[in-house]
Amino acid sequence: MIRVLTPRRLLSNLFSLIVIVLLGGFAAAALVRYSPGFSSIPEDLDPSISPETLQALHARYEDSNPLPVFYARYLAGTFKGGFGISTALNQPVADLLRRRAPVTAKLIAMGTAGGLLLGALLAWMAVWTRKAYLETAAFSLSGLLLAVPPAVLALAFFFNQAPLAIALALALFPRLFGTMRTLLDDAWRSPTLLAARARGVGPGVIASRYVLGGAIPQIVALLGVALVLAFGAAIPIEVICGVPGIGALALQAAVGRDMPLLCALALIITFFVTFVHSVGDLLA
């Protein structure tokens, strides 16, 4: 079913995006605030710290306001500018995000582009050449890479001083390859393409006009899924390889019970995930 992109549909998507981001941010803040370990801090295990100091440290970490009040105040502060001050790192959250986000964005962009290109190339080889050994090789590589945790792939690249984006691309490739192969196979079997081939249309025109042209909505939807998958895989990669990005910052925020930073990250990441899905939905 083809859905036309109308201003009403655009507004409806924008409204859903805002509601989901606000609800998602609140849900994330609630999960963090009421998790069993939120009120315990690493200093609790240090016998040399006096009970009074511990009490003062707990008071610093915990906001005495009920969660809805905290969240409303936090959002009001966010709309005025900035995301507050990080309690663990004692720096403006906006500054931290400004420094860390480009690192993660670059890793995700390069990893996603690499994963999509590798997936497309191998899917093309498997479908277009109609050679059984190439298809078997592509499926075997995909299956092998799917069996390795992305962080292990990243470690192999890290110790050999190779770009981590390639590790991310290799981790994403098997998760995209199957869909891309199906897309290309459907295009190959379509009557339009069969007619074009029968008319003697060259492979270049077939690839650009018939295959890519027809598959753009699905590719956009796949790009959205790939970006979200890349973000999920990038977090452990950043943490394990010491990349100063959003993933490593999230872990630091959690270990330091840094509520303003955790809320900012939850809002931004929920926005990212929802935005990517909405764009895919609008363009599909």
């Binding site: 998602g24 295990l45 945790p149 292990v152 959690a254 990250l265």
Partner: protein, 248 residues
């Protein structure tokens, strides 16, 4: 044929995992303090780790943790998905939440003195609870499709009660989807536990899991001195490839 071989290998691994206390040469936490970092020998077939614990015994016990609890977490996800598949808005909201981010955050928030058994249950329970939204969407779509089917309309027109329709007519269709979802989620959870263990947020020591055994890969000198450090990765890959073969 491939599927049969995969099932046989998985059954063998599961059997070894179940019989861990019988077939493991030593207890997973027993330390041989005179022989830390030992290479493979007749006493320690895969050598020992830096605390002098037998690698083979730890790998067998780790297999028990990873291979038995991942299906349990997948079962929790599928059951939650079945229960909540009717709540479309909740499913959409949960699909938009950055679960991997929240999962790492929630696991990192746990107290440092969390007991090993609690850490296992918590890790897999979080996975089970966090992973329900995708299967719920698939269940929701299937139920919507069934609602418009002719056979369901006929069943309703024949005066069959809702409970009987759900149990006798709808459930057999959903059961196949649930089984397929289980087979998709199990490898995903095994990999998630391995990733979490690698960054130190999985199962707490001294209890072994594939994740915390893989954490040793962060020290390349350990791999060079004893290649058996790679054994957990090898076993993980074999199990994952076998699970891919039996996946829908």
């Amino acid at each position: 044929m491939k599927q049969k071989i995969a099932i046989a290998i998985l059954a063998l691994v599961a059997l070894c995992a179940l019989l861990a206390p019988v077939i493991a040469p030593y207890d997973y936490s027993r330390q041989f303090r005179d022989t830390p970092h030992a290479t493979a020998s007749s006493q320690f077939l895969m050598g020992t780790d830096d605390l002098g614990r037998d690698r083979l015994s730890r790998l067998i016990y780790a297999t028990r943790v990873s291979i038995l609890l991942a299906p349990a977490a997948a079962l929790v996800s599928v059951m939650l998905a079945l229960l909540l598949s009717g709540f479309t808005s909740l499913t959409t909201l949960c699909l938009s939440l950055p679960w991997i981010f929240l999962f790492i955050i929630l696991r990192a928030l746990m107290p440092l003195n969390t007991r090993p058994l609690e850490s296992i249950l918590l890790t897999f329970a979080l996975m089970g609870v966090a992973g329900w939204a995708w299967p719920a969407r698939i269940f929701g779509a299937s139920i919507e499709q069934m609602k418009q089917s002719g056979w369901l309309l006929q069943a309703r027109a024949s005066g069959i009660g809702s409970r009987r329709i759900a149990l006798v007519h709808v459930w057999p269709h959903l059961r196949a989807i649930a089984w397929a979802q289980l087979r998709v989620l199990v490898p995903a959870y095994i990999l998630s536990e391995a990733s979490l263990g690698l960054i130190g947020l999985g199962v707490a020591e001294p209890l072994p899991s594939w994740g915390n055994l893989l954490a040793e890969l962060q020290r390349p000198e350990a791999v060079h001195s004893n290649p058996w450090v790679l054994a957990p990765l090898g076993l993980l890959m074999i199990v994952m490839i076998c699970l891919e073969q039996v996946a829908p």
